[in-house]
Amino acid sequence: MSTSRDRVVITGCGVLSPFGLGAQTLYEGMLAGESKVEKLPEPRASLRPGYGGEITERPAKVIRGLPASREMRPGTMTRYTFLSTAALGDAMVNAEVPLGPEEGRKDQVAPWEGSKRRGAYIASYTNSDKFDKYVRFAHHVISRKPGGVAIDDSKVPAAIKKFTAFEFLKLMNNMPTAHAGIQGRCRGPVNTFLGTPAGGVQAIGRAFEAIRDDLADVMYAGGVGSSVHDQMMMMRATRHLNSDPDAEPAKAGRPFDKDATGIVPGEGGGMLVLERASTAAERGAPVLAELAGYGDWFKAPTSNRGLPAGPEGMIRAARKAMKMAGIEASEIDLVTALGESDVEVDAIEAAGLAELLGPRVGEVPVLCVTAHVGAVEAAIGPMAASVALMAMKHGKVPGDLNRENPIPEYKGPTSPEPRTMAIRNTLICVMTREGVNAALVLKAV
């Protein structure tokens, strides 16, 4: 039975990134100073910027804990659902969630015991990479005319025949959560957050609240994102947000660097296993850290290129999280940031970090996953948190890739080499163009 002030701990983290499966894999790649941003294959190579951090192989075997019945094959999932199920399976294994064979099957699945007290909150920008069959459908029936779009009704019957029920169903935005429900045996609270890169942190924060509110004992929470597909690359192209197509791919992701030219496409998924501390202790679960604070704040963006109105929203979100965790800026040893690689956005974020950290800004490393894998949308917070958990565990923080010439607003330390250090508290910050800001505090245990 819960107690009113039970702490919430993180017992597992799972990642699927261009480096492969596992938070440790991503962490080691970052420690080695590697980038997985590479030239994309045609036809995407001709879309700006032509490169990105892509997960090129999506074999079924990377997904753990999901029954291998027909509807659960990766081919029946969108790119987003695949990312979430792979990351969640990894997190479950990492958290030592018992996976046993289900009667009559060889599948390794989680037990039903406790399922009513388990839930899943997952964030995603959307749940389709190329609109799949919809694009095909739309190509048949929609024509573009001056002033707008029109539907050619005469082509509808033929188009309908090319559309299948299953393709439609798998595009639904709650599919990552629906899969997580089955994969993690979650019969408790579920939610899918859409729309901004802060969504992954919001999902974790709300899951944290769900445990504190006694709605669940265990929550699977995180986010997925992909911007290496046509849809997102085109969306950014219309707003001139993509990085320079002539840049060397591995050097294109340059958070807080003067030579950054724009957003680098990327993709990934990150999931955490959150548990009530007492429940985790009962089952002898590994505890990676305490999730001690969460905060979010909305500050409407300015109309100019959709830039954040300023660092205020991010600062307030972080301060809310720190207040909840009962820590001061002087107690933060590591920060993870969005580091979009757009000089104007990075300048706002850097100014926010400077104000947040005060006199310690020159000492606290600022970790940016985006430099290594590109922009991963709603996965940025959960992936950054996973890497931070590895850094806290091993006492080593990856170096700052491609940050040779920091922008003036960036007052933090810069080191191409990993740093060996003890980390008491990590602040996970995500500032977005959309104005949604969210932050977490991870406390070492």
């Binding site: 399922s115 009513k116 709300r206 006694d214 959309e434």
Partner: protein, 414 residues
């Protein structure tokens, strides 16, 4: 920040102080209520595109807005609903700031416009973007409606966009209630919106879920759902704040429940296990039981799977009452407005609030023959009738993927 078990005693009372909506009945609460209370149907011939290939007779198209080039239909609907709710609730400068949040549910957003542009960009050479392209791509973001509305009302508190298909807006309402209860916000503008899109219509056609005629919830002859569009918004706030500012309290939210089936990727658990858990969670939170429910506003999509699953769940939850001939009446408002998907849960809740305020039970239109074994249940198939003591309503919704929600609403003044 409040923490601890959620019980009826420990919760900050949250109330509804304003409604704003656009449905197939037109713009405004009054338009919707008139059609529902008169027991007529808001469904009509589809004019947005040719319904012929789909074999459709009727749909829930909103004729309150026109297709305007360069303007997204879903956002148009949202704007209309926002105009009404902000006026009705009396929200203004006092409600701006960090204690105000916005949580919206939606399924698709501005998908058709974005797709047309997608086609242009998929052709090589890639064209130079136009202002229309930039606008469409910016607006397509699923969270765009939420952040735009947050900007409009000056909200700086929590903002979220919930993408839970048919339970999107009911989960959005519950998420909003949670934010108020845990102290993250004092007030939240919440609800859902959905525009009629040919993409979704085609999808439902392909899965064989569209009705050949009227939408007949819980009827032996039901053969599918009728898709619709709309936007439904509510202002939710702490009851003490609402009283202090002299706001009209429309209803109190006394219980919320969300639960997953964990049964199948798309199909519901035929035993209704997830729905039952959601309802029982809402009961526990409210500190009440089945006997306290005066009316059930069911999801009632008119599809074989959903209505079958719901009736099994309700039969189990209300078994003692049903056995004693005291099963609370159960209706489905989708029979009047159609299925508004991302706005459906909020629309059901809004109509339930109005029913309590007017002290009437609204009808399930087009319902003729109840499901086998449910002949004794009161689906109120014909016309609105007055009822005494309708104080507590249970509003439930379910979605593809096995996600279920249950909302308990109490009449203001009880």
């Amino acid at each position: 920040m409040v923490s601890g078990p959620r019980t009826a005693e420990s919760q900050v009372p949250v109330v509804v102080t304003g409604l704003g909506l656009v449905t197939s009945a037109g713009a405004g609460v009054d338009s919707a209520w008139k059609v529902l209370s008169e027991g007529t149907s808001a469904l009509s011939e589809l004019t947005l595109f040719d319904p012929g290939p789909y074999g459709l007779e009727i749909a829930g198209e909103s004729h309150s807005i026109e297709r305007v080039p360069g303007q997204d239909r879903a956002l148009q609907l949202l704007d209309l609903a926002a105009d009404e709710v902000l006026g009705a609730a009396g929200w203004g400068d006092t409600q701006r700031g960090p204690e105000t949040g916005v949580v919206l549910g939606t399924c698709q957003g501005a998908i058709e416009s974005a797709s047309a542009i997608h086609r242009s960009y998929a052709s090589r050479p890639v064209p130079e973007p136009t202002d229309a392209d930039r606008k469409a791509f910016a607006e397509y973001r699923p969270g765009f409606g939420t952040t735009r509305l947050a900007k409009r009302v000056g909200a700086e508190g929590p903002t979220s966009t919930v993408g839970m298909v048919c339970v999107s807006s009911s989960v959005a309402l519950m998420h909003a209630v949670d934010l108020i209860r845990c102290g993250e916000a004092r007030r939240v503008l919440a609800g859902g919106f959905e525009a009629f899109t040919q993409f979704v219509l085609t999808g439902f056609h392909c899965i064989g879920a569209l009705a050949s005629g009227p939408l007949r919830p819980f009827d032996q002859n039901r053969d599918g759902t009728v898709l619709a569009e709309g936007a439904v918004l509510m202002t939710l706030e702490r009851e003490d704040d609402a009283i202090a500012r002299g706001a009209t309290i429309l209803a109190r939210v006394i219980g919320c429940g969300v639960a997953a089936d964990a049964f199948h990727m798309t199909a519901p658990d035929p035993k209704g296990g997830g729905l039952e858990r959601a309802v029982r969670q809402a009961f526990a939170e409210a500190g009440i039981g089945p006997a306290d429910v005066d009316y059930i506003s069911a999801h009632g999509t008119g599809t074989a799977f959903n209505d079958g699953m719901e009736s099994v769940a309700f039969a189990r939850i209300f078994k003692e009452l049903a056995d004693a001939g005291q099963m609370p009446p159960l209706t489905g408002v989708k029979s009047v407005f159609g299925h508004t998907l991302g706005a459906a849960g909020a629309l059901d809740a809004a109509m339930a609030i109005l029913a309590m305020r007017h002290g009437v039970l609204t009808p399930t239109v087009s319902h003729v023959a109840p499901l086998e074994g449910l002949e004794d249940w009161d689906f109120n198939p014909h016309q609105t009738r007055p009822v005494e003591g309708m104080d507590i309503v249970l509003s439930t919704n379910s979605a593809f993927g096995g996600n279920n929600s249950a909302l308990l609403l109490q009449r203001a003044g009880v």
